[in-house]
Amino acid sequence: MMKRKFLLSTVVLTSALGLVGCGSSETDASGEEIVTLEVFNIKTETAEQMDNLVAAFEETHENIDINMTTVGGGTDATAALQSKFSSGDEPDIFMLGGLADAQTWEHKLADLGDTELAKNAIEGTLEGATLNDTVLGVPMNIEGYGWLVNTEIFEKAGIEPASIQSFADFENAVKVIDSKKAELGLDGVFAFSGGETWVSSQFSSNFVAPEFNSSLNETYEAKAFELTYADQMKQYADLANEYNSGPLESMDYSTSVEELFAGEKVAIVHQGNWIIPTLNSLDESFAKEKLSIIPMFVENETEGKIVAGPAWYWGVNKDKEQEVIDASIEFLTWMYTDEEAMDSIINDFGFIPAYTNFSSDAITDPLSNEIYTYLSEGNTVPWVHNSYPDGYGQNAFGVQLQAYAAGEISWDEFVTTLKTTWNEERK
C-alpha cells in the first residue's frame, strides 16, 4: 500500500512537471494563431518607453504577443543571456554588443541582410554585427561619448568650449577652470568615474581606434597590439587624474554623474548621450542648455574626434519556427519604420537613429544633434572597445588604469601589461 502510494505520487509529480513545459501555442478568438515573441532587452534606461512601444505594436498586430525581459547592462546581462540559452529558454530577439557577441552567438543568429532595416541602415553601422559578409544584427541606435562638459561653467571661467581645437587648448581650459575652482563653487574639474571599469574601457576606444584604422573588423582580427597612441592617452589620463574631484580609481557612476556633474560641482565627465534621461530627471534645463561634448585630439593634433556608433544590435534567433522569425523581423522593422514608432524612438527614447529613413532635423536634443553632426561629418571613431578580446576593456584597461591612477604601477608597466594581455588573449 505504502509503495503504491509513493509510485502514484511520483507519476503525478512527473506528469505535472511535463505539463509545465507545454502550453505556449494559443489561438485568439477569431481562431488565428498567436505568435508569442520573447525579447531580451538590456537597455534599462528606456525600459518603460520600450513597454509603451510594445503596447502600441500589440494594438495594431493582434496576432503577435510580445514578452519583454529587461536585465541591467554590463556583465549581468551577458550572464543572464548565457543562462537563458544554456537552460534552453532561448529568446527570439536579443541584443548583441558588437563583433565579439556576434561571434559568440553566430550559430544562433539569422541572416538579416535582406531586411528593410539592413538596407536603411546608415553606411558603416552594420559593421559591428557582420561576420563573413553575413549581417547578423541590425543597429538599435547610435550612441556617442567623450568629454561631456557643462558649458555654463566653461563660459563663467571665460572659455568658449567650441574654441578648444587641440590638446593644448583643452589642457589650458582645464587649468583655467581649476584656478577659478573656488569662485565657481567646484570640487574639481573632472569627475572621471574610474571605479566603473566600463568607463575606462570606453575611454580607451579613442586611442585604440586610430591604430586599427578606425575599423571594428580590423580591431577584432588584430593579433598584435602596440598601443601606438599611448603618449596621447597618457596626456589625457594624467590630466583627468590630476584634476579629478576625488580619487579617479574608485569614483563610481552615481557620484560622478548624478551628484557631481548634475550638481554642477565639476565641469567635465567622461560619458555619453545615455546620461541625458538621468540629467533630465534631476534638472530639466541641464541637457537643453548646458550640455556639450568636446572631442579628443589623438591621431591628429588639431582634428578632434569623438566616439560614436551603434552600441547595440538586435539579433534574431534562427533556431525558431519560421513564423516566429518572420514575426521577430516584422516587430523590429515596425519599430524603425512606422511613423508613430519612429516618433517615439526619437522623442521618448531620446535615441539617435541609425537609419536613413529618419530625418536629422527630427533630433531635437542638442547633444544628440551635436553627436549626429560629428558622425555625418566623419569626425568620429567607432566603438572599437566592443571589438577587444572578451572582457579586455574592463578587466585589462579598466583595472590597469585604476592601478596607474593610484600610483601602484608606472605608465610603462601599464602599457606593457596591456600589450601582453592582448597578445595572450588573441594567441
Binding site: 509513493f6 556583465t75 551577458t78 548565457q82 580609481e249 572578451d390 572582457g391 579586455y392 585604476q402 593610484a406
Partner: protein, 288 residues
C-alpha cells in the same frame, strides 16, 4: 528495524539522493569535464587536458584573489567568533525582558541580503564617513574603500556585522545547554566568573565551535555578493575575492572552461580546509 538492506531505507533515501545527484554530483562531473576543455559556454572546441589548471596556477590575478580571500577569512572568522561569543555571554546574563530585544537586534543584520548590505555599507563608508571626516577633519574617516587596506577592512566590518548575530544564536543555545549543576558546583568551589568561563564554559562550548567555525569559514571563503556590492573588487582588483575572480573569468572574459578549472581548484581548497578544521575541532570535543 531499518537495516541498510531494507527496501524502505533506500526508498526513503531516494528523493534526497536524486536531488543531490541532479544539483550536485552531475554538475560536478560535467564541470570537471569542461575544466579539461576550452569550453566557451556554447561549444567545446577541443580537449586540452590539464592546460587550464597549469594556467590557473600561473594566473597572478587568481593567486592574488586566493591570498586575499584567505586573509579575509582568517581575520573575519576570528573577529566574528570573538564578537559572537562576547555577545552571547552578554545576552545570556539575567537582563529581564531586554534579553530578547538585544538578541533580535544583534541577529537582524543576518536577515538582510548580501547585496543590500553591501550597498548600505557602501553608503556608510562613502557618504557617512566622508561627512564625519569633513566635520571633524579626522583623516581616519576619509577615503574609505579607495585603497586596498580600507577596502579590506570595509569588507571585514560588513561581514562581521552580518554574521556575528547568527553565530551568537548558536553560542546562546549551547550556553543554555550547559547543566546548571556544574556551574553551581563551580560556584560552590569558589571559582570566579572568569574562571568559570575559561575552565568550564569554553570546554563545554567545543561542539559549538565545530559548527560556528565551519559556518564562518566556508561562508567567508565563498563570499561574492557583499564583495560585488561593496567594492566590485576595486581599486584595481586588489579586493577581488576568489569567487569574483572565477565569475569574471567565466562571464566577462568568457573563458568558461578556464574558469571551471579555477572553480575546481577553489572547491578542493575549501574541502581540504573544512575537513582539517572539522577533524581538529572534533578531537577537541572528545578530549573535553
Amino acid at each position: 528495524m531499518l537495516t541498510n538492506r531494507s527496501k524502505s531505507f533506500w526508498l526513503l533515501l531516494t528523493p534526497a539522493f536524486i536531488a543531490l545527484l541532479i544539483v550536485l554530483f552531475i554538475p560536478l562531473m560535467t564541470g570537471t569535464y569542461y575544466s579539461l576543455t576550452d569550453w566557451n559556454g556554447n561549444t567545446v572546441g577541443e580537449f586540452i587536458g590539464f592546460d587550464n589548471y597549469i594556467r590557473a596556477f600561473q594566473d597572478q590575478g587568481f593567486i592574488d584573489s586566493l591570498v586575499f580571500t584567505a586573509k579575509f577569512s582568517v581575520v573575519s572568522v576570528v573577529l566574528i567568533n570573538v564578537i559572537a561569543l562576547i555577545l552571547a555571554t552578554l545576552v545570556t546574563q539575567k537582563l529581564g525582558r531586554w534579553t530578547t530585544v538585544f538578541r533580535t537586534v544583534f541577529f537582524m543584520p543576518n536577515l538582510i541580503g548580501g547585496i543590500i548590505l553591501g550597498f548600505i555599507w557602501q553608503f556608510i563608508f562613502n557618504k557617512a564617513f566622508e561627512s564625519i571626516g569633513d566635520l571633524t577633519s579626522i583623516q581616519f574617516f576619509k577615503g574609505w574603500l579607495d585603497t586596498p587596506e580600507t577596502g579590506f577592512w570595509g569588507l571585514v566590518i560588513l561581514f562581521v556585522w552580518q554574521m556575528s548575530g547568527y553565530m551568537m544564536l548558536i553560542y546562546i543555545s549551547f550556553l543554555n545547554n550547559i547543566p546548571e549543576e556544574i556551574l553551581e558546583a563551580a560556584n560552590m568551589d569558589g571559582a570566579s566568573p572568569m574562571q568559570t568561563f575559561i575552565r568550564i564554559k569554553l570546554p563545554m562550548l567545543m561542539p559549538a565551535f565545530t559548527v560556528t567555525l565551519f559556518l564562518t569559514l566556508s561562508n567567508a571563503f565563498k563570499i561574492y555578493d557583499q564583495n560585488l556590492a561593496l567594492t566590485q573588487g576595486g581599486p584595481y582588483n586588489s579586493t577581488q575575492m576568489a569567487a569574483m575572480n572565477i565569475y569574471n573569468e567565466a562571464f566577462s572574459m568568457r573563458n568558461m572552461g578556464f574558469a571551471q578549472s579555477k572553480a575546481i581548484i577553489f572547491l578542493i581548497i575549501i574541502v581540504v580546509i573544512s575537513i582539517i578544521q572539522i577533524s581538529i575541532t572534533r578531537k577537541k570535543e572528545i578530549s573535553a
